[in-house]
């Protein structure tokens, strides 16, 4: 869903953003009362085209939460904040080449792959560590079972194609 439109901050643009945000929000609004579980906010934000880190996500959530956190986020609070985020084009997605370079940093000897153990170690011990579930999920798609490794260039290509 790569969108390369240049938005002017016209009223129509904002109105359109509002519609988009509301739509995404409503997918998770199970009770049809303009609230979503706070645990789903990350999914909503990311599916709107943003790619925040966990830390950035927590900051965002803090912005849209109630004074006394209820476990639910209301559309009224979410909408203006999210509109700003989109207008400012914050948390832009990561381009393919940058992603590739990140993998290469982890593969300094330039083998072209990471072993399963290495991947697990990096993903669960470094950065903003994965949960066990996240790790397993990534492994299932990434690891080539014969070599027990991830050929990251191919992996990236596959994932990016799928994304569209």
């Amino acid at each position: 869903m790569a969108e390369d439109r240049e938005w002017e901050s016209t009223e129509t643009a904002v109105a359109e953003l509002h519609k988009k945000i509301k739509e995404a929000f409503e997918v998770f609004d199970h009770e049809s009362n303009n609230t979503v579980d706070v645990r789903e906010i990350g999914t909503i934000i990311r599916s709107l085209g943003c790619c925040p880190s966990e830390g950035e996500l927590h900051d965002l959530i803090a912005e849209v939460e109630e004074e006394e956190p209820t476990g639910y986020i209301r559309l009224e609070k979410f909408l203006p904040v999210m509109t700003e985020v989109l207008l400012e084009r914050r948390y832009r997605p990561i381009p393919e080449d940058v992603l590739l370079r990140a993998f290469e940093v982890l593969d300094p000897t330039k083998r072209g792959f990471l072993t399963k153990e290495e991947l697990i170690k990096y993903m669960t011990e470094e950065g903003e560590p994965f949960s066990q579930e996240e790790m397993e999920e990534m492994l299932s798609a990434a690891i080539d079972s014969e070599s027990n490794s991830i050929h990251y260039k191919d992996y990236i290509t596959m994932m990016v194609v799928d994304d569209n």
Binding site: E23, A24, T43, S47, L99, G127, E128, A141, M159
Partner: protein, 752 residues
């Protein structure tokens, strides 16, 4: 050395920092990827659900329409009268004598070369187990045994109360399973994983055993067999699909006729009765209530326990009469208000049951504020006055339908307004009261909702949405702990709601598509703590990654959605044009989303789905005509077919099939040309299609391939199964292709 080490440390530190950043980047990217997968999954689910529920609504509306016609249409010729009489007038549950005849299986011979399972009665546990094994090996049970089994089943069911009681004192564990919908693999899996039924292992199957899947017959045979073998421990509840009217649409009737070409009719007739005798609910330890749909704020367990459940033949209110013509005439006029159970059809301006616009239901999440009862409800106005008003608007409506259908005008007869004593005693005994019917509909069709209150279930067209307070009220009133119900497909096979007081359990895995959802069953021990077991009965899905699974299901959903879009091509075109005042041929993508929703009313997140539905869009705009053409190309293998007839047929395909099956009351598989024409006229007047009589005749003639005056239902439907059809060249219409309904020309369908 020192500086060397510190340099090393420096580099090491830098490297570590870089690694950390790199890892963080990859994680960040990956989490976004997963989020988008999740969003796709949710959207896909919405697509399936909204299409499914829209279909259910259609069914109810169609049914209401025909019921209404049957009641109010004053035929102008005896042909018409006969025709209408035949619709929906079936053998009422036959009296015992007829019943005997029907299930007279003894006369059916089982040939020597039959290799399927044999049954002898009384059934033994081994027989039931052998059945499971035989079906697993894809054998088919002979019609004689089917009928025999059904006969015994009926005898057993008759003795059962409406609400069965189970106790964990006797069977230590009770396993409750939800909808199976003809998916034999799931049933076999459950028995494999959980164990076969036995005195120590009680089972409750909570309705919807049939329809949609391809092995409904086999599932019924197994369930009935085990019920006969372990009557105290094996229990069945009726679901909304244990209903011959619903079966007409959703595939069970078709399956039976296909598998049992000679005796299918008998089997269906018997089943119709057996379904009525299925108990309505099961109560475990007086604490856990198990029923198929849900409850309403009016649910009265005492009434439910007392009523004669057998009277409720179909929850779609198929009113059945079979009487002399004269009586029928009088009845129709009197039945308007005197019959206690006649629902007010939705399209009458009087109707308060449903919103006046037929498709105005929105997403299944958009609960309409409304009355706290299920559809319909009888008005409490002065009956005579109401009757007059009804009569007037009925006449108006009739006129319109009649004109559209091309029937000759007849002179208005004097309205006969009298509060006749409703029906003869005999007739009355055969019908449930309004109250009784509503109680049963509620427990078979309702769905829980998150908000408090109780509203009409406009999405399904029957039952209601019940909130947590309704549940609480009921549990307290009858001193219960929680409710187990089914009726709704859930991605994980189960779902708790209402503060864990309501458990939905759904046992048909991969219901919408391979990989769409898990199935589940729940076990209750003496402590009554629910223990859920999930599964997915398809080896293939285990091999797929989440991503692949979601892609497959998604593709299936999108295909279904594109089909729906195509079926509404004309309406969509009209709507797009409204947004294109300057006639540029382009609309913005935003307008596209608005337009599509206003036509389809599915309540889907169109902006999210757009990239998958609209492949060709430059900038921010879409050339809508070519988009529609692309859609058509996908659905039709023959170019240039774009006629309102075909499109309408496509849109109403499942309706049509249902209608034909209703018409074909003897399940012969044939309807006469005349019946076809009459049907089409009625149908088109309801569906707002302007088609000339000639067109209909042409259509009918061209479908009657062997010119014997009969149309084979299957052939007819096949002829219009446009996706696979490859039309011979040169069979397009001679005239202009118009989708303009003013011009009543229609192109010849590509029949050969």
């Amino acid at each position: 050395m020192g500086s060397g080490t510190s340099n090393q440390h420096h580099f090491a530190f830098q490297n570590a920092e870089r690694a950390l950043k790199a890892a963080a980047l990859i994680q960040r990217w990956y989490r976004r990827y997963v989020a988008r997968l999740e969003m796709r999954r949710r959207c896909t689910w919405s697509i399936f659900q909204s299409i499914e529920y829209a279909g259910q609504q259609d069914q109810v509306k169609l049914h209401d329409f025909f019921s209404y016609l049957v009641d109010h249409f004053t035929p102008s010729s005896h042909n018409e009268r006969d025709f209408l009489n035949r619709m929906f007038t079936e053998e009422r549950f036959p009296k015992d004598l007829e019943m005997e005849k029907c299930s007279d299986y003894n006369s059916i011979e089982v040939p020597d070369n039959y290799t399927g399972p044999h049954l002898s009665f009384p059934l033994l546990p081994d027989h039931a187990t052998a059945l499971v094994e035989a079906f697993r090996l894809k054998q088919q049970l002979h019609a004689r045994y089917v009928l025999n089994l059904l006969h015994e089943t009926r005898k057993h069911l008759i003795q059962l109360p409406n609400i069965n009681r189970l106790s964990t004192c006797y069977s230590e564990e009770i396993t409750v399973c939800g909808d199976l919908h003809g998916q034999l693999d799931d049933l076999i899996f459950i028995f494999y994983k959980n164990g076969l039924p036995s005195p120590e292992r009680a089972y409750v199957f909570n309705g919807d055993f049939v329809d949609r899947g391809k092995d409904s017959v086999e599932i019924l045979m197994i369930l009935f067999a085990f019920m006969l073998v372990y009557p105290k421990e094996f229990h069945l509840n009726r679901g909304n699909h244990e209903d011959h009217m619903v079966n007409l649409r959703y595939g069970f009737t078709k399956e039976v006729m296909y598998k049992y070409k000679i005796h299918g009719k008998k089997i269906l007739k018997t089943l119709q009765d057996v379904f009525c005798w299925l108990p309505l609910a099961t109560l475990v330890d007086e604490k856990v209530l198990i029923l198929h749909g849900g409850v309403s704020d009016m649910t009265d367990l005492e009434l439910l326990a007392k009523l004669d459940r057998h009277k409720i033949v179909s929850t779609l209110r198929c009113k059945t009469r079979k009487q002399s013509e004269k009586l029928a005439e009088g009845k129709r006029k009197a039945s308007q208000m005197s019959s206690p159970g006649r629902p007010t059809p939705w399209f009458l301006p009087m109707s308060r049951s449903l919103p006046s616009s037929p498709l105005h239901v929105g997403s299944h999440k958009a609960h309409k504020t409304g009355r706290s009862s299920s559809i319909p409800c009888s008005a409490s106005l002065d009956r005579k006055e109401l009757s007059q008003q009804v009569r007037r608007s009925v006449d108006l409506e009739l006129e319109r339908c009649r004109q559209q259908a091309g029937f000759p005008l007849i002179r208005e007869k004097e309205p006969v307004l009298f509060m006749a004593e409703a029906d003869s005693d005999a007739e009355q005994l055969l019908q449930p009261t309004q109250e009784e019917w509503k109680q049963v509909v509620d427990i078979l069709w309702s769905d829980p909702m998150a908000q408090e209150g109780c509203k009409a279930n406009t999405v399904r067209g029957g039952g209601c949405y019940f909130g947590p307070n309704v549940t609480e009220q009921l549990l307290q009133k009858y001193n219960l702990q929680f409710l187990i119900r089914s009726h709704e497909c859930k991605p994980e096979g189960y779902e708790f709601c209402h503060n864990r007081k309501v458990l939905t359990i759904f046992s048909a895995s991969n219901y919408y598509e391979v990989g769409s959802n898990r199935g589940a069953y729940v076990k209750l021990g003496p402590a009554l703590t629910p223990h859920i077991v999930q599964y997915q009965a398809n080896k293939a899905t285990h091999m797929l990654t989440t991503r692949q699974r979601i892609s497959r299901v998604e593709e299936s959903a999108l295909r279904a959605l594109r089909e729906k879009l195509f079926a509404h091509s004309s309406d969509l075109l009209g709507e797009f044009k409204k947004h294109d005042a300057d006639k540029t041929g382009l609309i913005t993508l935003s307008d596209w989303a608005t337009a599509v929703e206003s036509v389809l009313h599915l309540g889907l997140p169109w902006r999210m789905l757009r990239p998958q539905l609209v492949s060709s869009s430059t900038e921010n705009v879409l050339e809508y005509t070519s988009w529609l053409e692309d859609l058509a190309k996908e659905q039709l293998s023959h170019e240039n077919i774009q006629s309102s007839v075909l499109e309408t047929l496509y849109r109403n395909r499942s309706n049509l099939e249902t209608v034909f099956r209703i018409l074909d009351s003897d399940h012969s598989g044939f309807i006469s040309l005349d019946e076809f024409r009459q049907t089409w006229k009625l149908f088109s007047s309801h569906m707002n299609i302007d088609i000339t009589d000639d067109c209909i005749c042409d259509l009918a003639r061209s479908i009657d391939f062997n010119k014997d005056g009969r149309i084979d239902i299957n052939e007819f439907l096949e002829a219009f199964r446009l996706v696979e059809q490859s039309c011979p060249e040169g069979n397009t219409s001679d005239g202009p292709q118009t989708t303009n309904t003013d011009d009543s020309s229609c192109s010849r369908p590509g029949a050969h």
